[in-house]
Amino acid sequence: MLRKEQNDLLTSTGPGTAMGQMFRSYWIPALLTEELPENDCPPVRVKLLSERLIAFRDTNGRYGLMDEFCAHRGVSLWFARNEECGLRCPYHGWKYDVTGQCIDVPSEPEESGFSKKIKLKSYPLVERGGVLWTYMGPADQVPPLPEWEFVTVPSKQTFTTKRWQESNWLQAMEGGIDSSHVSFLHRGDLNSDPLFKGAKGNQYNLSDSRPVFEVVESPGGLYIGARRNAENGNYYWRITQWVVPSFTMIAPRGNHSVHGHFWIPIDDANCWTWSFDYHPLRELTEAEVSAMRDGKGIHVKYVPGTFRPLANKDNDYLINRAAQKAGRTFSGVEGIAMQDASLQESMGPIVDRTKENLVSTDNGIIMARHRLLRAVKAFVDKGILPPGIDPVHQKVRSAAIVLPPDQPFKEGAREAMIARPDVAPASV
Protein backbone atom coordinates (compact mmCIF):
# COMPACT_ATOMS: atom_id res chain seq x y z
CA MET A 1 0.00 0.00 0.00
CA LEU A 2 0.89 3.62 -0.29
CA ARG A 3 -0.35 6.44 1.86
CA LYS A 4 -2.76 8.76 0.08
CA GLU A 5 -0.25 11.58 -0.13
CA GLN A 6 2.35 9.22 -1.64
CA ASN A 7 -0.17 7.95 -4.17
CA ASP A 8 -1.13 11.50 -5.10
CA LEU A 9 2.52 12.47 -5.41
CA LEU A 10 3.39 9.69 -7.85
CA THR A 11 0.24 9.83 -9.95
CA SER A 12 -0.07 13.59 -10.47
CA THR A 13 1.98 14.80 -13.41
CA GLY A 14 0.38 18.06 -14.46
CA PRO A 15 2.22 21.40 -14.50
CA GLY A 16 3.49 22.39 -11.08
CA THR A 17 3.37 18.90 -9.57
CA ALA A 18 6.50 17.22 -8.26
CA MET A 19 6.19 14.14 -10.44
CA GLY A 20 5.24 16.37 -13.37
CA GLN A 21 8.45 18.29 -12.86
CA MET A 22 10.40 15.06 -12.83
CA PHE A 23 8.78 13.78 -16.03
CA ARG A 24 9.65 17.15 -17.57
CA SER A 25 13.35 16.48 -17.01
CA TYR A 26 13.39 13.71 -19.65
CA TRP A 27 12.99 13.46 -23.39
CA ILE A 28 9.68 11.64 -23.68
CA PRO A 29 7.99 10.10 -26.73
CA ALA A 30 5.28 12.43 -28.04
CA LEU A 31 4.21 11.13 -31.46
CA LEU A 32 5.09 8.52 -34.01
CA THR A 33 6.98 10.12 -36.88
CA GLU A 34 4.34 8.75 -39.25
CA GLU A 35 1.73 10.99 -37.62
CA LEU A 36 3.41 13.95 -39.33
CA PRO A 37 4.23 12.21 -42.62
CA GLU A 38 5.16 15.17 -44.83
CA ASN A 39 5.87 18.87 -44.85
CA ASP A 40 2.77 21.05 -44.38
CA CYS A 41 0.67 18.02 -43.41
CA PRO A 42 -2.31 18.52 -41.08
CA PRO A 43 -1.38 19.37 -37.48
CA VAL A 44 -1.97 16.79 -34.74
CA ARG A 45 -3.45 17.33 -31.28
CA VAL A 46 -1.15 16.07 -28.55
CA LYS A 47 -1.92 15.98 -24.86
CA LEU A 48 1.03 15.27 -22.59
CA LEU A 49 1.46 15.69 -18.85
CA SER A 50 -1.97 17.39 -18.72
CA GLU A 51 -1.02 20.03 -21.29
CA ARG A 52 -2.95 20.37 -24.55
CA LEU A 53 -0.53 20.90 -27.40
CA ILE A 54 -0.47 20.95 -31.18
CA ALA A 55 2.26 19.29 -33.25
CA PHE A 56 3.07 20.16 -36.84
CA ARG A 57 5.71 19.84 -39.53
CA ASP A 58 6.34 23.01 -41.46
CA THR A 59 7.18 23.71 -45.10
CA ASN A 60 10.88 23.13 -44.45
CA GLY A 61 10.37 19.89 -42.54
CA ARG A 62 10.92 21.41 -39.11
CA TYR A 63 8.85 19.95 -36.28
CA GLY A 64 6.96 22.09 -33.80
CA LEU A 65 5.06 21.33 -30.59
CA MET A 66 3.26 24.17 -28.88
CA ASP A 67 0.20 25.34 -26.96
CA GLU A 68 -2.86 24.11 -28.86
CA PHE A 69 -4.75 27.37 -28.59
CA CYS A 70 -4.36 30.61 -30.52
CA ALA A 71 -3.27 33.49 -28.31
CA HIS A 72 -5.97 35.72 -29.82
CA ARG A 73 -9.34 34.19 -28.94
CA GLY A 74 -8.34 30.73 -27.79
CA VAL A 75 -9.26 28.82 -30.94
CA SER A 76 -7.78 25.34 -31.29
CA LEU A 77 -5.00 25.41 -33.82
CA TRP A 78 -5.99 21.92 -34.88
CA PHE A 79 -8.18 23.84 -37.34
CA ALA A 80 -5.19 25.86 -38.57
CA ARG A 81 -3.82 25.97 -42.07
CA ASN A 82 -0.28 24.59 -42.21
CA GLU A 83 1.27 26.82 -44.84
CA GLU A 84 4.46 28.67 -45.70
CA CYS A 85 6.45 27.78 -42.61
CA GLY A 86 3.76 28.23 -40.02
CA LEU A 87 0.35 27.39 -38.63
CA ARG A 88 -2.25 30.01 -39.48
CA CYS A 89 -5.36 30.23 -37.32
CA PRO A 90 -8.39 30.11 -39.60
CA TYR A 91 -10.38 32.52 -37.41
CA HIS A 92 -8.47 35.79 -37.91
CA GLY A 93 -5.29 34.63 -39.61
CA TRP A 94 -2.77 34.82 -36.79
CA LYS A 95 0.23 32.70 -37.73
CA TYR A 96 2.85 30.88 -35.64
CA ASP A 97 6.19 29.26 -36.49
CA VAL A 98 7.53 26.00 -34.97
CA THR A 99 8.86 27.83 -31.92
CA GLY A 100 5.40 29.20 -31.14
CA GLN A 101 6.45 32.69 -32.18
CA CYS A 102 3.62 34.61 -33.76
CA ILE A 103 4.86 35.84 -37.14
CA ASP A 104 1.76 37.45 -38.59
CA VAL A 105 -1.28 39.29 -37.22
CA PRO A 106 -3.10 40.43 -40.38
CA SER A 107 -5.33 42.92 -38.60
CA GLU A 108 -2.36 44.86 -37.21
CA PRO A 109 0.05 46.98 -39.26
CA GLU A 110 3.14 44.90 -39.95
CA GLU A 111 5.32 47.85 -38.94
CA SER A 112 3.77 47.88 -35.47
CA GLY A 113 5.77 44.79 -34.49
CA PHE A 114 2.74 43.52 -32.61
CA SER A 115 3.25 39.90 -33.69
CA LYS A 116 6.66 39.86 -32.00
CA LYS A 117 4.91 40.37 -28.68
CA ILE A 118 2.90 37.17 -29.07
CA LYS A 119 4.46 33.76 -28.44
CA LEU A 120 2.87 30.47 -27.55
CA LYS A 121 4.63 28.14 -25.14
CA SER A 122 6.48 25.59 -27.22
CA TYR A 123 8.67 22.57 -26.71
CA PRO A 124 11.40 21.05 -28.89
CA LEU A 125 10.35 18.08 -31.01
CA VAL A 126 13.03 15.87 -32.50
CA GLU A 127 12.88 12.71 -34.59
CA ARG A 128 14.76 9.65 -33.41
CA GLY A 129 14.07 6.06 -34.38
CA GLY A 130 10.62 6.64 -35.86
CA VAL A 131 9.50 8.52 -32.77
CA LEU A 132 9.14 12.27 -32.20
CA TRP A 133 10.52 13.10 -28.77
CA THR A 134 9.88 16.19 -26.73
CA TYR A 135 11.44 17.79 -23.70
CA MET A 136 9.03 19.86 -21.60
CA GLY A 137 11.39 21.11 -18.90
CA PRO A 138 13.41 24.27 -18.39
CA ALA A 139 15.14 25.41 -21.59
CA ASP A 140 18.50 25.69 -19.86
CA GLN A 141 18.47 22.08 -18.66
CA VAL A 142 17.93 20.13 -21.87
CA PRO A 143 19.26 16.59 -21.36
CA PRO A 144 21.20 14.58 -23.95
CA LEU A 145 19.03 13.13 -26.72
CA PRO A 146 17.52 9.66 -26.14
CA GLU A 147 19.95 6.77 -26.57
CA TRP A 148 17.60 3.83 -26.07
CA GLU A 149 18.79 1.04 -28.30
CA PHE A 150 15.44 0.66 -30.06
CA VAL A 151 15.78 4.15 -31.50
CA THR A 152 19.44 3.90 -32.44
CA VAL A 153 19.37 0.70 -34.55
CA PRO A 154 18.67 0.96 -38.32
CA SER A 155 15.02 1.63 -39.09
CA LYS A 156 14.36 -1.84 -40.58
CA GLN A 157 15.39 -3.43 -37.28
CA THR A 158 12.83 -1.64 -35.15
CA PHE A 159 9.05 -1.22 -34.94
CA THR A 160 7.14 0.99 -32.51
CA THR A 161 3.45 1.51 -31.84
CA LYS A 162 1.47 3.45 -29.29
CA ARG A 163 -1.96 2.96 -27.81
CA TRP A 164 -4.25 5.00 -25.63
CA GLN A 165 -4.63 3.50 -22.18
CA GLU A 166 -7.46 4.75 -20.02
CA SER A 167 -5.64 4.74 -16.70
CA ASN A 168 -3.00 6.63 -14.83
CA TRP A 169 0.55 5.97 -16.02
CA LEU A 170 1.72 4.41 -12.74
CA GLN A 171 -0.65 1.44 -12.62
CA ALA A 172 0.16 0.74 -16.27
CA MET A 173 3.89 0.87 -15.62
CA GLU A 174 3.55 -1.27 -12.52
CA GLY A 175 1.90 -3.90 -14.70
CA GLY A 176 5.06 -3.94 -16.79
CA ILE A 177 7.24 -4.91 -13.85
CA ASP A 178 4.71 -7.19 -12.19
CA SER A 179 6.47 -10.35 -13.35
CA SER A 180 4.38 -12.70 -11.26
CA HIS A 181 1.23 -12.15 -13.33
CA VAL A 182 2.71 -13.67 -16.49
CA SER A 183 2.22 -17.27 -15.40
CA PHE A 184 -1.50 -16.61 -15.02
CA LEU A 185 -2.75 -13.89 -17.29
CA HIS A 186 -0.60 -14.67 -20.34
CA ARG A 187 -0.21 -18.42 -19.94
CA GLY A 188 -2.17 -19.14 -23.09
CA ASP A 189 0.01 -17.02 -25.34
CA LEU A 190 3.55 -18.36 -24.94
CA ASN A 191 3.03 -21.22 -27.32
CA SER A 192 0.66 -19.53 -29.72
CA ASP A 193 1.76 -15.94 -30.27
CA PRO A 194 3.99 -15.81 -33.37
CA LEU A 195 6.29 -13.32 -31.65
CA PHE A 196 6.94 -15.64 -28.71
CA LYS A 197 6.50 -19.24 -29.72
CA GLY A 198 9.25 -21.72 -30.42
CA ALA A 199 11.88 -20.44 -27.99
CA LYS A 200 13.60 -22.97 -25.76
CA GLY A 201 13.08 -20.62 -22.83
CA ASN A 202 9.33 -21.15 -23.13
CA GLN A 203 9.81 -24.72 -21.98
CA TYR A 204 11.49 -23.53 -18.79
CA ASN A 205 8.53 -21.23 -18.26
CA LEU A 206 5.98 -23.94 -18.81
CA SER A 207 7.75 -26.63 -16.81
CA ASP A 208 8.28 -24.42 -13.75
CA SER A 209 5.22 -22.33 -13.04
CA ARG A 210 6.45 -21.09 -9.67
CA PRO A 211 9.37 -18.79 -10.41
CA VAL A 212 11.32 -17.16 -7.63
CA PHE A 213 11.92 -13.45 -8.02
CA GLU A 214 14.95 -11.37 -7.23
CA VAL A 215 14.86 -7.58 -7.32
CA VAL A 216 18.17 -5.79 -7.61
CA GLU A 217 18.75 -2.05 -7.78
CA SER A 218 20.48 -0.86 -10.94
CA PRO A 219 22.04 2.54 -11.70
CA GLY A 220 18.99 3.55 -13.73
CA GLY A 221 16.26 1.71 -11.85
CA LEU A 222 15.84 -1.99 -11.27
CA TYR A 223 16.71 -5.40 -12.58
CA ILE A 224 13.85 -7.78 -11.90
CA GLY A 225 14.94 -11.37 -12.24
CA ALA A 226 12.60 -14.34 -12.41
CA ARG A 227 14.42 -17.60 -11.87
CA ARG A 228 13.28 -21.05 -12.85
CA ASN A 229 14.95 -24.41 -12.64
CA ALA A 230 17.07 -25.44 -15.61
CA GLU A 231 19.27 -28.46 -16.31
CA ASN A 232 22.08 -29.63 -14.00
CA GLY A 233 20.98 -27.55 -11.05
CA ASN A 234 21.36 -24.28 -12.95
CA TYR A 235 18.80 -21.51 -13.06
CA TYR A 236 17.06 -20.02 -16.08
CA TRP A 237 16.81 -16.29 -15.50
CA ARG A 238 14.51 -13.82 -17.20
CA ILE A 239 15.69 -10.33 -16.36
CA THR A 240 13.42 -7.34 -16.93
CA GLN A 241 14.85 -3.84 -17.00
CA TRP A 242 13.03 -0.93 -15.47
CA VAL A 243 14.52 2.52 -15.89
CA VAL A 244 13.14 5.52 -14.01
CA PRO A 245 10.47 6.71 -14.49
CA SER A 246 8.62 4.53 -16.98
CA PHE A 247 10.78 2.49 -19.35
CA THR A 248 10.59 -1.29 -19.21
CA MET A 249 12.20 -3.96 -21.32
CA ILE A 250 11.01 -7.54 -21.22
CA ALA A 251 13.37 -10.50 -21.40
CA PRO A 252 13.69 -11.87 -24.96
CA ARG A 253 12.73 -15.29 -26.21
CA GLY A 254 14.94 -17.23 -28.62
CA ASN A 255 15.78 -15.22 -31.72
CA HIS A 256 12.57 -13.23 -31.53
CA SER A 257 12.76 -9.47 -31.38
CA VAL A 258 13.28 -7.79 -28.02
CA HIS A 259 10.45 -5.67 -26.74
CA GLY A 260 9.43 -3.19 -24.13
CA HIS A 261 7.40 -0.14 -23.24
CA PHE A 262 7.26 3.47 -22.22
CA TRP A 263 4.27 4.70 -20.24
CA ILE A 264 3.78 8.42 -20.71
CA PRO A 265 1.06 10.41 -18.95
CA ILE A 266 -1.53 12.07 -21.16
CA ASP A 267 -3.21 13.38 -18.04
CA ASP A 268 -3.72 11.83 -14.65
CA ALA A 269 -6.44 9.46 -15.86
CA ASN A 270 -4.92 8.44 -19.23
CA CYS A 271 -1.55 7.50 -20.61
CA TRP A 272 0.15 6.47 -23.81
CA THR A 273 1.49 2.96 -23.81
CA TRP A 274 4.40 2.92 -26.22
CA SER A 275 5.42 -0.54 -27.37
CA PHE A 276 8.61 -1.28 -29.25
CA ASP A 277 10.12 -4.37 -30.83
CA TYR A 278 13.60 -4.46 -32.27
CA HIS A 279 16.48 -6.76 -32.95
CA PRO A 280 20.01 -5.48 -32.35
CA LEU A 281 21.51 -7.53 -35.18
CA ARG A 282 18.98 -8.17 -37.89
CA GLU A 283 16.13 -6.63 -39.80
CA LEU A 284 12.67 -7.55 -38.65
CA THR A 285 11.06 -9.94 -41.11
CA GLU A 286 7.94 -9.11 -43.08
CA ALA A 287 6.11 -11.78 -41.10
CA GLU A 288 7.16 -10.23 -37.81
CA VAL A 289 6.14 -6.71 -38.81
CA SER A 290 2.89 -8.04 -40.22
CA ALA A 291 2.16 -9.81 -36.92
CA MET A 292 2.93 -6.65 -34.96
CA ARG A 293 0.63 -4.60 -37.21
CA ASP A 294 -1.99 -7.28 -36.65
CA GLY A 295 -1.85 -6.75 -32.89
CA LYS A 296 0.28 -9.73 -31.93
CA GLY A 297 2.93 -9.75 -29.20
CA ILE A 298 2.71 -6.57 -27.18
CA HIS A 299 0.88 -4.60 -29.90
CA VAL A 300 -2.86 -4.17 -30.49
CA LYS A 301 -5.47 -3.78 -33.19
CA TYR A 302 -7.01 -0.32 -33.32
CA VAL A 303 -10.33 1.35 -33.84
CA PRO A 304 -9.60 2.48 -37.42
CA GLY A 305 -8.11 5.95 -37.68
CA THR A 306 -7.32 6.15 -33.95
CA PHE A 307 -4.84 4.89 -31.40
CA ARG A 308 -7.64 3.45 -29.30
CA PRO A 309 -7.49 -0.33 -29.03
CA LEU A 310 -10.25 -2.13 -30.89
CA ALA A 311 -10.95 -4.06 -27.70
CA ASN A 312 -11.64 -1.34 -25.16
CA LYS A 313 -13.70 -0.63 -22.09
CA ASP A 314 -16.74 0.44 -24.10
CA ASN A 315 -17.08 -3.07 -25.55
CA ASP A 316 -15.87 -4.93 -22.44
CA TYR A 317 -12.63 -5.66 -24.28
CA LEU A 318 -14.51 -8.14 -26.49
CA ILE A 319 -14.24 -10.63 -23.66
CA ASN A 320 -14.83 -14.19 -24.77
CA ARG A 321 -16.15 -16.20 -21.85
CA ALA A 322 -16.07 -19.43 -23.84
CA ALA A 323 -12.35 -18.99 -24.54
CA GLN A 324 -11.83 -18.20 -20.86
CA LYS A 325 -13.72 -21.30 -19.77
CA ALA A 326 -11.88 -23.49 -22.25
CA GLY A 327 -8.53 -22.10 -21.10
CA ARG A 328 -7.55 -20.69 -24.49
CA THR A 329 -7.12 -17.38 -22.70
CA PHE A 330 -6.95 -17.05 -18.95
CA SER A 331 -8.99 -13.86 -18.68
CA GLY A 332 -11.08 -14.22 -21.80
CA VAL A 333 -9.45 -11.17 -23.38
CA GLU A 334 -7.37 -11.79 -26.47
CA GLY A 335 -3.82 -10.55 -26.88
CA ILE A 336 -1.13 -9.86 -24.32
CA ALA A 337 -1.41 -6.08 -24.48
CA MET A 338 -5.15 -5.94 -23.91
CA GLN A 339 -5.03 -8.68 -21.31
CA ASP A 340 -2.87 -6.27 -19.34
CA ALA A 341 -4.66 -3.04 -20.24
CA SER A 342 -8.14 -4.39 -19.54
CA LEU A 343 -7.22 -5.29 -15.98
CA GLN A 344 -5.22 -2.13 -15.34
CA GLU A 345 -8.08 0.05 -16.60
CA SER A 346 -10.54 -1.94 -14.48
CA MET A 347 -8.75 -0.66 -11.36
CA GLY A 348 -10.17 2.80 -12.07
CA PRO A 349 -8.51 5.89 -13.52
CA ILE A 350 -6.16 6.16 -10.54
CA VAL A 351 -6.09 3.07 -8.38
CA ASP A 352 -6.52 3.71 -4.66
CA ARG A 353 -3.32 2.22 -3.32
CA THR A 354 -4.37 2.77 0.28
CA LYS A 355 -6.70 -0.22 -0.14
CA GLU A 356 -4.40 -2.72 -1.79
CA ASN A 357 -2.85 -5.72 -0.06
CA LEU A 358 0.57 -6.33 -1.52
CA VAL A 359 2.44 -9.57 -0.95
CA SER A 360 6.08 -10.58 -1.09
CA THR A 361 6.13 -11.20 -4.82
CA ASP A 362 5.17 -7.57 -5.31
CA ASN A 363 8.61 -6.44 -4.21
CA GLY A 364 9.43 -5.26 -7.74
CA ILE A 365 6.53 -2.84 -7.55
CA ILE A 366 7.37 -1.84 -3.98
CA MET A 367 10.98 -1.17 -4.89
CA ALA A 368 10.01 0.82 -8.00
CA ARG A 369 7.78 3.05 -5.88
CA HIS A 370 10.57 3.38 -3.32
CA ARG A 371 12.97 4.51 -6.02
CA LEU A 372 10.45 6.88 -7.60
CA LEU A 373 9.67 8.48 -4.24
CA ARG A 374 13.36 8.79 -3.47
CA ALA A 375 14.13 10.25 -6.90
CA VAL A 376 11.31 12.78 -6.92
CA LYS A 377 12.18 13.96 -3.42
CA ALA A 378 15.85 14.40 -4.29
CA PHE A 379 14.91 16.16 -7.51
CA VAL A 380 12.45 18.59 -5.98
CA ASP A 381 14.30 19.23 -2.71
CA LYS A 382 17.88 19.26 -3.91
CA GLY A 383 17.75 19.50 -7.69
CA ILE A 384 19.44 16.12 -8.08
CA LEU A 385 18.72 14.79 -11.57
CA PRO A 386 16.80 11.52 -11.45
CA PRO A 387 18.08 8.22 -12.86
CA GLY A 388 17.29 7.54 -16.50
CA ILE A 389 18.49 10.85 -17.93
CA ASP A 390 22.10 9.75 -18.23
CA PRO A 391 22.50 7.98 -21.61
CA VAL A 392 24.43 5.23 -19.81
CA HIS A 393 21.20 4.34 -18.00
CA GLN A 394 19.45 4.07 -21.36
CA LYS A 395 21.92 1.71 -23.00
CA VAL A 396 20.46 -1.34 -21.35
CA ARG A 397 19.04 -4.67 -22.40
CA SER A 398 16.85 -7.25 -20.84
CA ALA A 399 18.24 -10.78 -20.85
CA ALA A 400 17.29 -14.44 -20.73
CA ILE A 401 20.19 -16.53 -19.53
CA VAL A 402 21.12 -19.78 -17.74
CA LEU A 403 23.49 -19.32 -14.79
CA PRO A 404 25.01 -21.43 -12.00
CA PRO A 405 22.90 -21.55 -8.84
CA ASP A 406 25.06 -19.37 -6.59
CA GLN A 407 25.87 -16.66 -9.08
CA PRO A 408 24.28 -13.23 -8.64
CA PHE A 409 22.49 -12.59 -11.93
CA LYS A 410 23.76 -9.03 -11.82
CA GLU A 411 27.26 -10.49 -12.14
CA GLY A 412 26.48 -13.36 -14.51
CA ALA A 413 24.46 -11.20 -16.89
CA ARG A 414 26.50 -8.01 -16.46
CA GLU A 415 27.64 -7.81 -20.07
CA ALA A 416 24.33 -9.07 -21.39
CA MET A 417 22.46 -6.20 -19.75
CA ILE A 418 24.42 -3.53 -21.62
CA ALA A 419 23.36 -2.54 -25.14
CA ARG A 420 26.32 -2.81 -27.48
CA PRO A 421 26.15 -2.46 -31.27
CA ASP A 422 26.69 -5.71 -33.18
CA VAL A 423 26.43 -7.83 -30.04
CA ALA A 424 23.63 -10.37 -29.95
CA PRO A 425 21.10 -10.18 -27.14
CA ALA A 426 21.39 -12.83 -24.41
CA SER A 427 18.37 -14.98 -25.12
CA VAL A 428 17.23 -18.55 -24.66
Binding site: F213, L358, V359, I366
Partner: protein
Protein backbone atom coordinates in the same frame (compact mmCIF):
# COMPACT_ATOMS: atom_id res chain seq x y z
CA UNK B 1 -16.71 0.11 -16.63
CA UNK B 2 -14.42 2.37 -14.79
CA UNK B 3 -14.50 6.11 -14.59
CA UNK B 4 -13.47 8.78 -12.13
CA UNK B 5 -17.10 9.21 -11.11
CA UNK B 6 -17.62 5.50 -10.60
CA UNK B 7 -14.43 5.18 -8.61
CA UNK B 8 -16.18 7.17 -5.89
CA UNK B 9 -18.55 4.26 -5.35
CA UNK B 10 -15.98 1.74 -4.19
CA UNK B 11 -16.99 -0.14 -1.07
CA UNK B 12 -15.20 1.46 1.85
CA UNK B 13 -15.20 -1.51 4.23
CA UNK B 14 -11.82 -3.01 5.24
CA UNK B 15 -10.78 -5.79 2.87
CA UNK B 16 -8.08 -7.53 4.88
CA UNK B 17 -7.03 -8.56 8.35
CA UNK B 18 -3.60 -7.80 9.79
CA UNK B 19 -0.74 -10.10 8.86
CA UNK B 20 2.00 -11.09 11.29
CA UNK B 21 5.40 -10.29 9.83
CA UNK B 22 8.54 -11.48 11.58
CA UNK B 23 11.78 -9.74 10.64
CA UNK B 24 14.94 -11.67 11.49
CA UNK B 25 18.50 -10.34 11.35
CA UNK B 26 20.72 -13.18 10.21
CA UNK B 27 24.11 -11.58 10.81
CA UNK B 28 25.74 -8.73 12.70
CA UNK B 29 25.43 -6.24 9.84
CA UNK B 30 21.71 -6.90 9.66
CA UNK B 31 21.29 -6.69 13.43
CA UNK B 32 22.02 -2.98 13.44
CA UNK B 33 19.44 -2.43 10.73
CA UNK B 34 16.79 -4.55 12.41
CA UNK B 35 17.44 -2.94 15.78
CA UNK B 36 16.83 0.48 14.27
CA UNK B 37 13.65 -0.75 12.61
CA UNK B 38 12.41 -2.26 15.85
CA UNK B 39 12.49 1.17 17.44
CA UNK B 40 9.84 2.35 15.01
CA UNK B 41 6.10 2.10 15.36
CA UNK B 42 4.65 -1.00 13.70
CA UNK B 43 1.25 -2.61 13.84
CA UNK B 44 2.07 -6.19 12.97
CA UNK B 45 5.85 -6.50 12.63
CA UNK B 46 8.10 -7.98 15.26
CA UNK B 47 11.87 -8.06 15.14
CA UNK B 48 14.45 -10.65 16.10
CA UNK B 49 18.05 -11.68 15.93
CA UNK B 50 18.65 -15.14 14.52
CA UNK B 51 19.37 -16.31 18.03
CA UNK B 52 16.18 -15.00 19.60
CA UNK B 53 14.07 -16.22 16.71
CA UNK B 54 15.45 -19.74 16.63
CA UNK B 55 15.14 -20.07 20.40
CA UNK B 56 11.37 -20.46 19.93
CA UNK B 57 11.48 -21.37 16.28
CA UNK B 58 8.38 -23.51 16.11
CA UNK B 59 6.21 -21.01 17.93
CA UNK B 60 7.53 -18.00 16.04
CA UNK B 61 7.14 -19.57 12.63
CA UNK B 62 3.76 -20.97 13.58
CA UNK B 63 2.55 -17.46 14.41
CA UNK B 64 3.92 -15.83 11.26
CA UNK B 65 2.29 -14.98 7.95
CA UNK B 66 5.59 -13.87 6.50
CA UNK B 67 9.18 -14.26 7.66
CA UNK B 68 11.63 -11.66 6.38
CA UNK B 69 15.30 -12.63 6.67
CA UNK B 70 17.80 -9.79 6.52
CA UNK B 71 21.50 -10.20 5.82
CA UNK B 72 24.48 -8.16 4.77
CA UNK B 73 26.67 -9.26 1.87
CA UNK B 74 29.33 -11.73 2.94
CA UNK B 75 28.03 -12.18 6.48
CA UNK B 76 27.29 -15.34 8.39
CA UNK B 77 23.72 -16.10 7.36
CA UNK B 78 23.77 -19.82 8.16
CA UNK B 79 20.61 -19.50 10.26
CA UNK B 80 18.71 -19.08 6.99
CA UNK B 81 18.76 -22.85 6.57
CA UNK B 82 17.16 -23.57 9.93
CA UNK B 83 14.58 -20.81 9.63
CA UNK B 84 13.89 -21.46 5.97
CA UNK B 85 13.35 -25.16 6.56
CA UNK B 86 10.92 -24.48 9.41
CA UNK B 87 9.01 -22.05 7.17
CA UNK B 88 9.02 -24.49 4.29
CA UNK B 89 7.66 -27.26 6.51
CA UNK B 90 4.77 -25.04 7.60
CA UNK B 91 4.28 -23.42 4.17
CA UNK B 92 5.09 -19.96 5.52
CA UNK B 93 6.19 -17.38 2.95
CA UNK B 94 9.80 -16.20 3.18
CA UNK B 95 11.46 -13.10 1.83
CA UNK B 96 15.18 -12.41 1.99
CA UNK B 97 16.71 -8.97 1.92
CA UNK B 98 20.36 -8.30 1.29
CA UNK B 99 21.07 -4.78 2.45
CA UNK B 100 23.89 -2.35 1.74
CA UNK B 101 24.73 -4.23 -1.43
CA UNK B 102 25.86 -1.21 -3.48
CA UNK B 103 29.55 -1.68 -2.76
CA UNK B 104 29.55 -5.41 -2.09
CA UNK B 105 31.95 -7.62 -4.02
CA UNK B 106 30.55 -10.35 -6.25
CA UNK B 107 32.18 -12.93 -3.99
CA UNK B 108 30.55 -11.58 -0.86
CA UNK B 109 27.19 -11.42 -2.57
CA UNK B 110 27.57 -14.95 -3.95
CA UNK B 111 28.29 -16.27 -0.48
CA UNK B 112 25.15 -14.69 0.92
CA UNK B 113 23.02 -15.74 -2.03
CA UNK B 114 24.14 -19.34 -1.68
CA UNK B 115 22.84 -19.27 1.89
CA UNK B 116 19.60 -17.45 1.19
CA UNK B 117 18.41 -18.59 -2.22
CA UNK B 118 17.38 -22.12 -1.29
CA UNK B 119 15.11 -20.73 1.45
CA UNK B 120 13.69 -17.57 -0.03
CA UNK B 121 10.60 -17.35 -2.16
CA UNK B 122 11.40 -13.70 -2.85
CA UNK B 123 14.75 -11.94 -2.73
CA UNK B 124 15.62 -8.26 -2.75
CA UNK B 125 19.14 -6.93 -3.09
CA UNK B 126 18.97 -3.32 -1.97
CA UNK B 127 21.56 -0.58 -2.15
CA UNK B 128 20.41 0.95 1.11
CA UNK B 129 18.73 -0.37 4.23
CA UNK B 130 16.04 2.32 4.01
CA UNK B 131 14.20 0.03 1.62
CA UNK B 132 13.11 -2.37 4.37
CA UNK B 133 11.07 0.31 6.05
CA UNK B 134 9.21 1.08 2.82
CA UNK B 135 8.70 -2.61 2.14
CA UNK B 136 7.22 -3.26 5.57
CA UNK B 137 4.93 -0.25 5.24
CA UNK B 138 3.83 -1.46 1.82
CA UNK B 139 2.98 -4.84 3.33
CA UNK B 140 0.93 -3.15 6.07
CA UNK B 141 3.33 -4.33 8.77
Amino acid sequence: MSSAAEAAFRVQAPNSRPRAIKVVALDTAAEAVVRRLAAGSWKQATFFTAETFTRNLTDEVGAADLVVMVAGPGGHAEAATLIGKACSDRRIMTTALVVDARTASDEALSKTLSQLRPWSLMMVIADADSYIEDMLAALRA
